[in-house]
Symmetry: C2
Subunit: 436 residues, 2 copies
């Protein structure tokens, strides 16, 4: 009997589960994703910072799985799961499964202030990355044509909320971009007057790293002109900037890197969840009430040992979990015994600007240029697909030699570029059609 496996999500977990099940006898696999592409999320901030083009870190899922004849890829939205009927509900109908692998990931959360999102976009998708790129580049453009010094200062102030790796990477990149890449291209403003503020609620940035690494990262950020505000809780975000308790910072650009919430599909599983909405799974990543459902990646809270913290939301964790589930299903179908999931720690890395980073592999801690080199090699190694690797290396080599940022395009709000302001154009009006 063929077993029908549905995989929800083509991120690191879902994609790797599908690859392991690819061309395995006895399995008929359907991978459903709302996007047509797998995204190399660790480099997404490079798209937001105009260092890479979207196509350099994303590839069609269909292409990556094309050679597996038993794998079908469907682009569509999974709206809900009906565990008792073993069905998923999509926007193109219901689909049956024997095994379900949920790898739908997470998205940003604003701690009950969803009205902040519009002023402070997060960084999870290509669209968000190009939107952030647009806002950052437009801020310099607006400052250049602004005569009022106070408004100019507002345009040149960038606030990043959240001191994890993404926040650190964004802050470092903006600091560096303003100091080197575009410094000599403006006539009226001095881009070096750019103010970049990284705000973290906890006592230090990079809480998942050691104290030593965090303080090295702080010093490196400060060298790039970034102000690091720790123990500072953002209490308000609006079109004019942010509030930090009594203090107000006027800033045209606010970026959000402060918290995630697991996929809404977890709402259909009657299981305990942690505060980020992640499902607490069994040692084999299955769900207690439904052993045919597995949850991987950012959607799951996997606690390695009683009393330990759950595994972090990193690409290697998701990748290993996806592979594990697929291998385990194969063993199960062959009647072989199954081991619980265990994570092989691949360490963690955060990069600060063009040539500095902090890295920790178990007890080994490195920082500065060699950590950056390690970061570079690890990312190139994991970047899926030879072609992307080659292109990214060339792009980086170029950027390194020339301080160039190759993808400094402001795109995305089509109507705004037309001189007849009242007239909406294709990109806008087509929303209505698609919504019909």
């Amino acid at each position: 009997m063929m077993k029908k496996v549905i995989i929800v999500g083509g991120g690191f977990a879902g994609l790797n589960a599908a690859k392991v099940l690819g061309n395995q006898k006895g399995f008929q696999v359907t991978l459903i994703d709302s996007r047509n592409h797998h995204l190399f999320q660790p480099l997404l901030y490079q798209v937001a910072m105009a260092g890479l083009s979207p196509a350099e870190i994303a590839r069609p899922i269909r292409e990556m799985l094309g050679k597996y004849r038993n794998v079908r890829v469907l682009q569509g939205m999974v709206q809900s799961v009906k565990p008792d009927q073993r069905k998923v509900v999509t926007d193109f109908g219901e689909k049956d499964y024997d095994y379900l692998v949920l790898a739908g990931g997470a998205k940003h959360t604003y701690f009950g202030h969803s009205e902040w999102e519009v002023h402070a976009p997060g960084l999870k998708t290509i669209e968000q990355a190009t939107e952030i790129r647009r806002r950052v580049l437009m801020a310099f453009e607006k400052a250049e044509r602004e005569d009022d010094p106070a408004d100019q200062k507002k345009h040149l102030t960038f606030v990043i909320v959240g001191g994890g790796p993404t926040g650190v990477e964004l802050a470092g990149a903006i600091g560096e971009m303003s100091r080197f890449t575009i410094a000599r291209e403006f006539r009226q403003i001095d881009p070096k007057l750019t103010r970049v503020i990284l705000i973290e609620a906890g006592p230090r940035i990079l809480p998942s790293f050691s104290k030593e690494s965090a303080s090295k990262a702080t010093r490196d950020l400060e060298k790039l002109g970034v102000q690091v505000w720790t123990s500072s809780m953002v209490t308000g975000v609006n079109h004019d900037g942010v509030e930090v308790g009594e203090e107000r910072v006027r800033a045209a650009t606010v970026l959000w890197a402060a918290g995630v919430k697991a996929s809404h599909l977890n709402g259909d599983l009657n299981e305990p969840k942690d505060q980020s909405g992640r499902v607490q799974v069994e040692p084999d990543l299955s769900v207690k009430s439904h052993p045919e459902i597995f949850v991987c990646g950012d959607q799951a809270a996997v606690i390695p040992k009683e009393g330990e913290k759950p595994l972090p939301g990193l690409a290697p964790v998701a990748l290993q979990q996806g592979r594990y589930v697929a291998k385990m299903l194969i063993r199960k179908e062959k009647g072989r015994p199954v081991e619980p999931f265990s994570y092989r720690d691949k360490g963690q890395l955060a990069t600060i600007g063009r040539s500095r980073a902090v890295a920790e592999f178990g007890k080994i801690r490195i920082s500065g240029f060699f950590a950056w080199l390690a970061w570079l090699l690890v990312h190139i190694y994991y970047l899926t697909g030879f072609k992307n690797r080659l292109f990214v290396v060339i792009q980086w080599a170029w950027a390194y030699l020339t301080f160039d940022r190759g993808a400094r395009l402001i795109v995305g709000k089509d109507w705004q570029f037309y001189a007849e302001p009242a007239r909406p154009t294709v990109a806008n009006r087509s929303d209505k059609i698609t919504a019909q």
Copy 2:
């Protein structure tokens, strides 16, 4: 006395005018464009067809002109011109000039049916190119998950309206993409069943080429499975497809390559215009009633000799006109005599798929692989900036060897990718903010 020159538009004409005036004593130049980037428009269809990424054919104008200390670049909309006051009105205030160079280009026109635009986007901007890319790729995705054969057929039918070079290039690329690039990645549909119809109102495609070239192009298109309908007037476009007189073609994707209209700024010039709204200029590209205003590129109708057709809307025409105006202003200020503009014909080229083209240089006509090679060399040579050239060559070499299309990303309608359908996301909601 410093002369203030305002250049409207950073396309081939405006950019090259600014370069020639760059670092010239006595001139203070301001270039205003609603975009931050110069676009290599001859390759825009490659972005629409997922062959190139936007950043590979676009570079920030600010960067390209950064070394000229007397040139200032401002991103903003020029709303109108006041010739009698020697001012342009922008969305960030009014600006004075001594000389005005209008190089605002053209956009698509739907011959009085602007309601067709939403169903049949044109190809002038990066946003339109990624929108076309999204529609074409989504059509295959929808066909794959569709069970009804009639609807599947609709999704796999592509109509291109307009048989000029852009229409030919789009039709050839879709034909080829369906036959080679993505052929083996689908399970339910056979992408080879794709129907591509190129509709031209005139008696033949490529009317600006010779009859021989046009019929060679037709045969090459037919080899790629494209149906070429000539003498066929589109009389209706809606969400279901197109009407050609009594006939109806059901098609999910309709692309428009059929007609252009010059910049609305021409409305502020009290001069005769041709049917595309282009201003008829003097032999030195100035405007009769205002000799300090010059019009270049797609915004101008330049008639080489009494009774001849106006010069076509090609990149070399715009480029030569921009350079001419700048050189002429320099001569004029030095009190030297001024020659009228004359166009050095660089020929014309249209490519059909991966390795065929038609090319005409004066009386020389070539077609097939060598025309394609000529097309490739010419485009690489003119592609502005060394880095872009290098990247595009690598990308092309790769695509040629592997049939790969590196940029097959569906992006741009963010909300549609979220599983909670009612919830608008950043990309949408931020429209409202920017509009504030």
